[in-house]
């Protein structure tokens, strides 16, 4: 396994990346990465993107008019339920 991992081409290594990354295991010391600057840079970039995304989106305020819509929909539903129950 270790031996064959040494001989992976970039294409083969990158085809395995979703599983390698998704496994949650440390892959920085993968044999292919020791000898491949290209794939090391790729992995670093993907990690940078994932980390940046976590801090990205601000919390947004919905428009104040939204509550009025929700409120009237709830009142309408409750009235319908009450009518059906009678």
């Amino acid at each position: 396994m270790r031996e064959s991992a040494h001989n992976l081409s970039c294409e083969e290594f990158q085809a395995q990346l979703p599983d390698l990354i998704g496994s949650g295991e440390e892959i920085d010391d993968h044999p292919h990465l020791n000898s491949c600057k290209l794939c090391r840079a790729l992995l670093a970039d993907l990690d940078t993107i994932a980390q940046a995304a976590r801090q990205l989106f601000p919390v947004e305020e919905p428009p104040s008019s939204l509550w009025a819509h929700i409120k009237s929909a709830i009142v309408f539903e409750e009235a319908a339920t009450s009518k059906n129950g009678q």
Binding site: S9, C10, E11, Q14, L17, P18, D19, I21, G22, L38, C39, A41, L42, A44, D45, L46, T48, I49, A50, A52, A53, R54, L56, F57, P58, V59, E60, E61, P62, P63, S64, L66, W67, H69, I70, K71, A73, I74, V75, E77
Partner: protein
């Protein structure tokens, strides 16, 4: 009881009641940064008993996070408003079924994700399908990276550019990326939510990240051309 208008200011903004949950927020938690857990439990109990004012306060506490989650998932303000409304209507309909096994914020987060997914399915996004349906058109697919000469993002990312790139991702990629990398869901949870395999979830996430990288790397060239 008539409905009141919920406060436009959260207790955090007014400086009241530090949050218990906010001190240790779970990755996939929404709301909860405005009141203590006890306050929310009391509000919830009142809302479950039909107190409209209490429900209005729960809306006030959770509205930003629900709306923001919808916005991240669909990337469109008008749709996010509709989905936020639907999420709170569902919350109201199902409020009696909440038994407190999880935090209310976590429960509401799940409910909101399900509302968004249901809507996307109605609109024709077939999330339970295989890769080829999740795949964007071939010219939109992220390229492989072997042989590309200028790879590094140098650890620095333009936040606005990344945000725009995420919004522009094809719907299937964006969903998995948002659920995993932003909302903190695990692959097995995403697979269950979207009704496909764990392998598919990993693959979609990887492709989404590749697509974002491609966009960010090409951006300086695109701007230079302009």
């Amino acid at each position: 009881m008539p409905y009141c208008t919920p406060s436009t200011q959260s207790p955090r903004e007014t400086g009241k009641s530090p949050s218990v949950e906010a001190a240790h927020p779970p990755a996939s938690c929404i709301g909860s940064d405005c009141t203590t857990n006890q306050d929310q439990a009391a509000l919830l109990a009142r809302a479950q008993a039909g107190d409209h004012e209490a429900f209005a306060q729960l809306y006030s506490i959770h509205k930003k996070k629900v709306f923001s989650l919808c916005l991240r998932m669909v990337g469109n303000v008008a749709e996010a408003e509709d989905l936020t409304q639907e999420a709170f209507l569902q919350f109201h309909r199902k409020i009696d079924t909440f038994r407190g096994e999880s935090a209310l914020s976590t429960w509401l987060h799940r409910l909101t994700v399900n509302v968004v997914l249901m809507q996307l399915r109605k609109k024709g996004l077939q999330l339970n399908s295989l890769d080829e349906i999740m795949e964007p058109e071939s010219d939109q697919r992220p390229g492989r990276s072997f042989g590309a000469p200028d790879l590094s993002l140098s650890g620095v990312i333009d936040r606005l550019a990344l945000q725009r790139a995420i919004e522009d991702l094809p719907a299937g990629y964006r969903l998995v990326f948002v659920l995993h990398d932003i909302e903190g869901f695990e692959h097995n949870e995403i697979a269950s939510l979207l009704d496909f395999s764990i392998g598919n979830s990993k693959s979609q996430l990887h492709k989404a990240r590749l697509k974002l990288r491609e966009f960010l790397l090409n951006r300086p060239r695109q701007e230079a051309r302009k």
